[in-house]
């Protein structure tokens, strides 16, 4: 479970190669490690190792009905099951040309708001803030700042309550089905969540103010950021796939711009652009590409931080992007609940038809693409699922390669902490990354 300490290798006549092993990453979802290969003082390779066991989800959904797939893909990730269900259900509805009731559509945004709230609250306070404040975990953080952690837990509980109100439970919700929901809430049931959401909005605003008091390490790069963009809304379930360098393609066309491959040197499926370039997804990408579509309260919060440019260029400041999105998600959840009238039916009727379909939605950690081929019986014949963390992996490695030289002179424990902090700033969800493999490090010249 744990991994070795740094070790030097001296080869006859070869440059001195130093393997810098961070060992098992903590406070991330799933199991991974980081290894740097350093030759003559230069970082030649950063490898994010994932030893999460493969579970073959793309094969597990073959021969299943669309509604069964919605249940199954939730199990890819206990942290963001809503995202997997949303990408799948929209892909199927696009193929089957299902007309979804506007209130059913609004409830799906509300569902996503709940997942963003619980996921971002978890990451900001329980996983990420301890790094900025010098604690090994939120447990120790709570000993000194109990009220802060309790407010954070209350906000997280509200996100979970929202998901559970719609989906029956926060982890692996069970009401999403093609055409709508197996059960929709009454207006009264949703209104009962208003007091907790008002409090969560206040906590979200306090979170924005809290993150601006933090100090992040200096780091600047010019990343290629990718997210969905919708004409009028902050992106969740619909829009086009856009990037900071001018990409603008349909939501079902991820494959036109990107591809994933199992690269021999890394033993991992990684996604890149067709030109082989790395790109980054997630809250920083969404905020940068969609600042004009933030809820007015969130737009004001972003302006208040003065961190919009830092969010774009410094990955450590993703914590500010998450805080701004907390304001957005709580404020939009309140708006949706206030505007809600129960639709006449929970789901629209539909008929399966054969064909291929793709869709992307915005998981808490970024764009999550699904592609399915449906056969004549209405069952899945083939599936491709591209989680945000496998798309981010190459960009994270590139950032680590750029950042690592600045910490290599530090004592190992300190350098490890700085590098782990950088990795945690991307909120990697390793359980999601069904493609990630056990990574074995072999020096090139051994």
């Amino acid at each position: 479970m744990t991994h070795g300490m740094p070790h030097d290798q001296v080869h006859d006549g070869a440059p001195r190669e130093h393997i810098f092993d961070v060992g098992m990453l903590t406070r991330v979802e799933g199991e991974g490690s980081l290894t740097l290969r350093v030759r003559d003082g230069a970082v030649v390779q950063a490898q994010l190792g994932i030893f999460e066991a493969p579970r073959y989800f793309e094969r597990l959904v073959v021969g299943r009905t669309p509604d069964e797939v919605i249940d199954i893909v939730a199990r890819i990730c206990g942290i963001c099951p809503v995202a997997y269900q949303m990408s799948a259900v929209h892909a199927f509805e696009a193929l089957f040309k299902v007309q979804v009731d506007p209130q059913v559509r609004a409830l799906r945004r509300l569902f996503y708001c709940g997942e963003w709230i619980e996921s971002h609250a978890l990451h900001i306070y329980l996983l990420h803030a301890p790094d900025f404040l010098g604690y090994p975990s939120a447990i120790e953080l709570a000993r000194d700042h109990r009220a802060v952690v309790e407010r954070a837990l209350a906000m997280k509980r509200t996100g979970n309550a929202l998901v559970a109100r719609l989906g029956a439970r926060p982890i692996h919700p069970l009401t999403v089905r093609v055409g709508g929901w197996s059960r929709i809430p009454t207006r009264k049931e949703l209104q009962a969540l208003r007091p907790a959401l008002d409090e969560a909005l206040a906590t979200a605003q306090a979170t924005v103010d809290f993150v601006t008091t933090l100090t992040a390490p200096e780091f600047k790069r010019e990343p290629r950021l990718v997210s969905l963009r919708h004409p009028d809304e902050y992106p969740m379930n619909e829009g086009r796939i856009v990037s900071t360098d001018g990409l603008d393609i349909a939501i079902d066309s991820w494959r036109d711009a990107f591809a994933e491959d199992q690269v021999a040197w890394s033993n991992a499926l990684q996604a890149r652009t067709h030109a082989g370039e790395v790109y980054l997804l997630g809250p920083s990408s969404r905020v940068t590409l969609n600042a004009a579509r933030l809820h007015p309260l969130a737009a004001e919060a972003l302006a208040r931080t003065g961190l919009a440019e830092q969010i774009r260029v410094n990955p450590y400041w993703s914590i500010a992007a998450r805080a701004v999105e907390l304001v957005h998600a709580t404020a939009e959840a309140i708006d949706i609940i206030d505007g809600y009238t129960a639709p006449s039916r929970a789901y629209a009727p539909w008929q399966p038809r054969a064909g291929a379909t793709g869709w992307a939605t915005e998981a808490p950690r970024g764009l999550l693409f699904h592609h399915y081929e449906i056969d004549e019986r209405g069952l899945v014949a083939r599936a491709q699922i591209v989680p945000p963390t496998s798309q981010n992996q190459a960009a994270i490695e590139a950032d680590l390669t750029a950042f690592a030289p600045s910490v290599l002179a530090l004592p190992h424990a300190e350098a490890t902490l700085r590098l782990e902090q950088l990795i945690r700033s991307y909120d990697p969800c390793i359980s999601c990354a069904t493609h990630f493999l056990d990574l074995r490090i072999e020096p090139a010249d051994r």
Binding site: M1, A53, Y56, L60, R64, G78, I79, L153, T175, Q262
Partner: protein
């Protein structure tokens, strides 16, 4: 568990949380006990929980919570080592107690599954089967569910602090559903529902939210799955459709697996 009392770490049970092949959802259930989380960290010394803390420990553990199924050669070795370090080993969730959804490969050709997903399968280190922890080492307590119930987890932790056996239900979802007064999915809607053969613990959520139970908590003791499968057939479901109903998150549990093998 008293809130606000901080016992000395010498008397607090040392707790570890580890995972194998899984989605992280069951250990997330711990972090989702928002109201009790801080009290739990005061009653227990959480010495290993990689998802939540940078502090690491190799053991020994008074209590070790194990999420996930055993699905690689490394995991098969590691669980044996962990068993030696743990006084009480608790398997949490459908993956750790039955093999999880990834145990679908136990009934199929593992290499075909692998080759369908990975272009260079020679790099993959994986066992042909995904099996529960109990197939490898002795397990002291099992918490079933996909995911586990937070209430059951709390009951377990409370029982451990007082040295009593945890009170875990073994009745069917069906019984709980009847008490809730839900219209019967199977009878009234004519839709398949695994409630009669599935252990409760979820709160009969699926029928309460307008759909049939899909067996997250696995078969209850002495479940008559064959009778229920016959009922699904009488509702007009083909053998293949019946097999799919049982081939979900507890497909490797013997009572469910028998139906899948007979019907597919």
């Amino acid at each position: 568990m008293a809130t606000g009392t901080r016992r000395s770490s010498a008397h607090r049970p040392r707790v570890g949380v580890v995972k194998f092949a899984s989605c992280d959802g069951c250990q997330l259930t711990i972090l989702d006990l928002e109201d009790e989380l801080l009290a739990i960290t005061e009653s227990f010394d959480i010495v290993e929980f990689a998802e939540a803390t940078s502090s690491r420990s190799q053991g020994p553990f008074d209590v070790l919570l194990v999420e996930g199924s055993i699905s690689t050669p490394e995991q098969a070795r590691e669980i044996v080592q962990l068993r030696r370090e743990a006084t009480t080993l608790v398997a949490i969730g459908a993956c750790a107690t039955s093999g999880g959804i990834q145990a679908l490969r136990n009934l199929a050709d593992h290499d075909a599954f692998r080759d369908a997903v990975y272009p260079q399968p020679q790099f993959i280190s994986s066992l042909a089967t995904s099996t529960p922890v109990s197939a490898h080492v002795a397990v002291d307590v099992e918490l079933v569910g996909c995911p586990i119930s937070g209430a059951q987890l709390l009951e377990l932790l409370t029982a451990l602090t007082t040295g009593r056996r945890p009170q875990l239900p073994d009745e069917a979802v069906c019984a709980e559903c009847k008490r809730l007064g839900n219209p019967c999915i199977l009878v009234a809607a004519g839709e398949p529902c695994l409630g009669p053969v599935t252990r409760t613990g979820c709160g009969a959520l699926c029928p309460s939210f307008g759909r049939g139970c899909y067996g997250c908590f696995g078969p209850k003791e002495a479940a008559n799955a064959a009778s229920l499968a016959a009922w699904f057939g009488a509702l007009g479901r083909s053998d293949e459709q019946v097999a799919r109903e049982f081939a979900k998150f507890n497909v490797n549990a013997p009572a469910f697996r028998a139906i899948v093998e007979a019907k597919r």
